[in-house]
């Protein structure tokens, strides 16, 4: 890159650094504020005196949240959902993408199959029919309602298929000559060569499952089956703190605002933990999708 040394150009650089830094901080401030509230005592949190630093520092909000059986149960449900949901997604994405990545000569019927999937991606039956399908299959109040309806993320299948198509054909041709089957070719050639794409899609699928909440809101009629984000909704949006199951004497010493804050932070931590990995695969993931040219 060429550097301009004019005074105007330098002035612009100065403003640019300040503006970008300011914007990034602005994006982060709400999170910092909630963190500060969650670490504050009852009076300052309720009175709205906390800005970006805790007042009357206390960890008791977190102790109460982590000691709440209802909260922990929803946390466990979320973990189960992420593990089973992401595994199922990836299994089906890989199995579906492999045949679709073949030419119609190798996989007769590919053209029909691909349109079968693409149309399913473009036309949506809608919320109400989907609800009754899940209900009629007897999935209400089961983990299946959360992981089966979107078990085949079609857009991911298409990304994976495009990735598979770029695998050099010479590799599999020599394997076929040596008598390998499609199973072996998929397992020993395609999957090892596609690990970056698989890692990206797995991570995205896991984050989606962690963050999903609406499906559980409609498919779980018993709130005891709520995963964490849906559970949080009852606490945060409908402001029903009795759901947390903290005993009333304890609640009087604490601010419900601070307790909500603590729960928001706890729900955020897993994302922060995987964030460095997300970031690493993020750019490649976008190149895989949006700007594929």
């Amino acid at each position: 890159m060429i550097h301009d040394r004019t005074w105007f150009s330098r002035l612009f650089d100065g403003f640019n650094y300040i503006f970008l830094t300011g914007f990034a901080i602005l994006c982060l401030l709400p999170l910092v504020h909630i963190l500060a509230v969650s670490l504050s005592g009852r009076a300052p949190a309720t009175g709205g005196f906390v800005s970006l630093w805790p007042i009357d520092f206390t960890l008791e909000n977190y102790e109460q949240v982590m000691g709440s059986r209802n909260f922990l149960r929803s946390f466990v449900i979320s973990v189960l959902r992420v593990l089973s949901g992401a595994s199922l997604n990836m299994l089906l994405v890989i199995l579906t993408a492999y045949p679709l990545s073949k030419t119609p000569r190798v996989f007769r019927g590919r053209t029909i199959c691909i349109w079968f999937f693409v149309f399913a991606m473009l036309f949506d039956g809608g919320l109400i029919p989907s609800f009754f399908v899940v209900r009629s299959l007897g999935l209400l109040n089961t983990l299946g309602a959360l992981i089966l309806p979107n078990a085949v993320p079609i857009f991911s299948v298409i990304l994976m298929m495009n990735f598979f198509r770029d695998v050099p054909k010479e590799l599999e041709e020599s394997a076929f000559i040596d008598g390998a089957s499609h199973w072996r070719v998929l397992w020993h050639i395609y999957i090892p060569l596609s690990l970056p794409a698989i890692a990206t899609l797995t991570l995205f699928s896991a984050v989606n499952h962690w963050n999903a909440w609406f499906d559980a809101l409609i498919y779980m009629t018993d709130t005891a089956n709520y995963p964490m984000q849906t559970f949080l909704r009852t606490v945060i949006v409908t402001l029903d703190l009795t759901q947390v199951g903290i005993n009333p004497q304890d609640l009087q010493r604490l601010s419900d605002r601070a307790i909500r804050g603590a729960q928001i932070i706890v729900a955020t931590v897993p994302i922060l933990v995987v964030y460095p990995f997300l970031q690493r695969y993020f750019i490649s993931g976008i190149k895989l999708g949006a700007v594929k040219e």
């Binding site: 060429i2 550097h3 004019t6 150009s9 612009f12 650089d13 640019n16 970008l20 914007f23 990034a24 994006c27 982060l28 709400p30 504020h33 909630i34 709205g48 492999y98 045949p99 679709l100 073949k102 190798v106 007769r108 999937f117 693409v118 399913a120 473009l122 036309f123 949506d124 039956g125 809608g126 919320l127 109400i128 029919p129 989907s130 609800f131 009754f132 399908v133 899940v134 078990a151 499609h182 998929l186 963050n211 909440w213 609406f214 409609i218 984000q229 849906t230 909704r233 945060i236 949006v237 729960q263 928001i264 729900a267 994302i271 970031q279 976008i286 190149k287 949006a290 700007v291 040219e293």
Partner: protein, 299 residues
Amino acid sequence: MTFKQYMKRAWPLYVMIVPGIVFVLLFRYYPMYGVVIAFQDFSPAKGFAGSPWIGWANFEFLFLAPEFRRILGNTLIISVSKIVADQLGAIILALLLNEARRILFRRAIQTLIYLPHFLSWIVLGGILLDILSSGGILNQALRSVGVEPQLWLGSNDWFRGAVITSGFWKNVGFSTIVYLAALTAINPVLHEAAAIDGAGRFRRVWHITLPGIRPTIVLLAALSLGDVLQAGFEQILTLYNPAVYRTGDIIDTYVYRVGLIRAQWSLAGAVGLFKSFIGFFLIVLSYWLADRYAGYRIL
């Protein structure tokens, strides 16, 4: 090659694709058949096949209802504002980031601005509900400088603004990355040649950088057409309340309330079918435009 010879090699391909087909049939195509409830007086006990047919009655009721115009208008206003704000913001941020030469600085900023993208609307909504509440920090700050506090999420004057701004907060970082990826692909030789010819920094941005990302701008503009009926269901369901239905109620939240809370399944199904139908054509059109003007194909 006989069929038998072909199958000897190819049978695993069919075994592999069957589970995917079964899931898609059950959870995508079966609900598509379920859109027939829009033309029925649906009752769950009788099911999709057994409920009595009533023709277009649901649609006739719908198109005459003032609510329908309201939710359609809100959906379009909110989604189009969001698309414009996000894309303009992302282009500007990407250009500015591209001008910042310190790589570490660039990475740090990117890391911070797309963090909200990975948080759910429950987490972000919980934060916003607290910050924007009557005793929240925004009103406290305004009070301290003598400005009248507002019920941001309870006022029809402010609700859309809050939705668009918070949508920007969650999504702009993500869109920025797409443009940055396109910017880094511009050949630096072009910049060098222009500099030798005496073009200053801002002329180079105008004549080289911007044309360099024009295909990406066209592409994302085309693809965003497919989203104009998506005003942000999870976001609005988290943030809204009955006081702002007039400006904040969108198609999806209406379908949810009417269908699953008030149990008027067929009416909600009719609204849903209307959205699916228009949405389908919008997406097809957006992919066609993306292919025609930006050479983008998903297949």
